[in-house]
């Protein structure tokens, strides 16, 4: 049984100029213990997707529809109190900016212990002991001293380790990491990713890794989901995606990467670079394929009818009318 099943997720923000269709049609499943990567240009709706799963888009301006099923529970229809029991306990989350994601006026020990006291009902002393244990687990030296320090006393890499320790303290079934290494230097990036992979082996946590670094994807993900303009356009095993990309957008991405190189050491070049053309405005509803304005294979059909996201091979889904032409080629 998959631990997470997202189908036809749609998240719109109410805006002055009408709705912002940040997530328009996202579907994927995640098996327990698996790592999937979500890739896509900046603005393609990756963060909004993950925040929709956590139901953290507060303020009453965001509205999600579709279905998000987590361990058999329908996330979108849970009450806020039940949702709070899931957050930080069954689903942990790490954010991009380790500099700003930790509270500057609370010690890191307190910030880790807080989750344990809340969800596992540990005493303060027990939570502190467990927080020290977690800091050791994420390779923070002198954990007993560090635990009483404030975030500004730690380096960026250390802060992200603290975030990981915090997110994993309650041994969640699912960890969502939204660009966890983007803000770090290359060597620290590799260490943090290695640490996440290592912890996953021990705890069996499933991971959703959001990134726009394809080098990272190739290294750690079992499967990859490609997003474009708030839609999932392709889903495949990592190997399949790199060797046989089917969607014209994915092919475009890989072509730019092939040209510029995608090794982890070559950080800047391995980021997704723009494919020529304009991403459609999130304000309009698009009748046909969202990629039509940039697609070399576009036909009239594409402009009028949205392609459905379907399996064309086992374990390989794609949303494109002209996959057959690709497969034959």
């Amino acid at each position: 049984m998959p631990i997470l099943n997202v189908s036809e997720l749609r998240t719109h923000f109410r805006g002055e100029r009408g709705p912002v269709r940040a997530v328009e049609n996202v579907s994927f499943t995640l098996e327990s213990g698996e790592t999937i990567a979500i890739v896509g240009e900046s603005g393609s709706g990756k963060s909004v997707t993950s925040l929709s799963i956590m139901r953290l888009l507060a303020g009453g301006r965001a509205r999600s529809s579709g279905r998000i099923e987590f361990l058999g529970r329908d996330i979108l229809s849970l009450g806020e109190a039940e949702m709070r029991k899931i957050r930080g306990n069954e689903i942990g989350m790490i954010f991009q900016e380790p500099m700003t994601s930790l509270n500057p006026v609370l010690t890191i020990g307190r910030q880790i212990a807080e989750t344990l006291i809340l969800h596992q009902h540990l005493s303060r002393a027990q939570a502190r002991a467990r927080a020290i244990e977690m800091l050791r687990l994420v390779d923070i030296p002198a954990a007993e001293q560090r635990i009483d320090e404030y975030p500004h006393q730690l380096s960026g890499g250390m802060r992200q380790r603290v975030m990981i320790a915090m997110a994993l303290a309650c041994e969640p079934k699912l960890l969502i990491a939204d660009e966890p290494t983007t803000a770090l230097d290359v060597t620290i990036q590799a260490q943090v990713l290695e640490l996440m992979a290592d912890l996953q082996k021990r705890t069996g946590t499933a991971i959703i890794l959001i990134t726009h670094d394809l080098g990272v994807v190739a290294d750690v993900a079992d499967r990859v989901i490609v997003m474009y303009a708030g839609r999932t356009v392709e889903e495949a095993t990592t190997k399949d995606l790199f060797l046989h990309p089917l969607h014209p957008y994915t092919r475009g991405l890989l072509a730019t990467i092939a040209k510029l190189g995608s090794s982890l050491d070559d950080n800047a070049a391995s980021r997704l670079t723009e494919i020529p053309g304009q991403v459609p405005s999130l304000h309009e509803s698009i009748p046909g394929c969202a990629f039509a304005s940039r697609c070399p294979l576009v036909t009239d059909l594409c402009r009028h009818t949205a392609p459905s996201f379907e399996a064309v091979e086992p374990d390989h889904k794609v949303a494109c009318h002209h996959v057959e032409r690709r497969l034959q080629a």
């Binding site: 954010f95 994601s101 509270n103 500057p104 989750t115 809340l118 404030y150 915090m166």
Partner: protein, 313 residues
């Protein structure tokens, strides 16, 4: 830490000196011959001369200032022209009501204004926010004596729940003490609540959009801990600053409130002294208020280091 405190204390010396100079000059800023003014219309020249000698007006300004300062530093603020009692004694007798009034006002204000501001920020743009902002504008624009008379008319005269005026020392029991003080404290709180609620709201709105608030929510924390633990501590520096600056408003307000509610405090003392041109008393009270203001704000500077670990000594 201790060196920091000492350094900050030393740095207030120029301010204190300036205050002292200003307070001392008060006597000479008033038009005309102070001695003649004090003595009144019917006084004879001998009487005026006697007053002039009492005030030391026959000596040059700087000598008089240094002399006065030397005495003040030793806790001698001179003798009241009207009652012939030492100014420190007069102030000492009046200190309890004023301190009680100000302390109660600060407690009421902070307890009401901070939650109000937090609630408004958490519901930004919604009706709760609008109500809080409207109350703040109202509290800021209505003079303290209007609120004071209104409150005493409703609660003391119409409903007969509380005494209309006066003061009962704490030594005579907490309940009567509070009964006398509660209306003046509420009246005096209005402006202060408005001030603190507004800065709390602004500061909280800023903090609530920060990444670490999202992190706190992602941990599963409820609205209460997110607002009052994660956000409020981060928002506290501007709030505490305004609480300190607002003490000046309170001092001015206390003078009016004590008059409205007939509280025998330092405010009343200074009003009476002004009416009688009792300069040593005026100087003493103004000096006391000024020094208190500087010291309170120094204490608040020290509080920053407790509230925000990033602030260095």
């Amino acid at each position: 830490m201790l060196t920091f405190v000492c350094r900050r204390l030393l740095s207030t010396i120029p301010v204190m000196l300036f205050i002292a100079l200003f307070v001392f000059s008060l006597l000479y800023l008033a038009p005309g011959d102070p001695a003649a003014l004090i003595a009144g219309d019917q006084a004879s020249q001998t009487e005026i001369d006697a007053i002039r000698v009492t005030l030391g007006l026959d000596q040059p300004f700087y000598i008089r200032f240094v002399g006065w300062l030397g005495h003040a530093l030793r806790g001698d603020l001179g003798v009241s022209i009207f009652s012939q009692l030492p100014v420190t004694t007069l102030i000492g007798q009046r200190l309890e009501p004023t301190l009680s009034l100000m302390l109660l006002t600060v407690i009421i204000s902070v307890c009401i204004a901070v939650p109000m501001g937090v609630l408004a920020a958490a519901n930004q743009g919604r009706w709760i926010d609008r109500i809080v902002m409207a109350v703040a504008v109202f509290g800021f624009s209505v003079p303290v004596f209007v609120v004071g008379y209104l409150l005493s008319w409703v609660f003391a005269i119409r409903l007969d729940l509380l005494p209309v005026q006066g003061y009962t020392p704490l030594a005579e029991g907490f309940a009567p003490f509070l009964a006398n003080l509660i209306l003046p404290a509420i009246a005096l709180s209005c402006v202060y609540i408005a001030l603190i609620a507004r800065i709390t709201r602004t500061s909280m709105i800023d903090v609530l959009s920060q990444d670490y608030i999202r992190t706190a929510r992602a941990k599963g924390l409820g609205q209460g801990p997110v607002l009052f633990i994660h956000a409020l501590k981060n928002a506290s520096v501007p709030i505490v600053t305004v609480i300190g600056i607002g003490i000046a408003l309170l001092i001015g307000g206390a003078v009016v409130t004590e008059t409205v509610f007939a509280i025998p405090g330092v405010g009343r003392l200074v009003v009476d002294a002004i009416l009688r041109r009792d300069y040593p008393v005026i100087q003493g009270v103004v000096l006391l208020f000024s020094v208190a203001y500087v010291l309170i704000n120094l204490a608040i500077d020290l509080l920053y280091t407790v509230l925000d670990p990033r602030v260095r000594y």
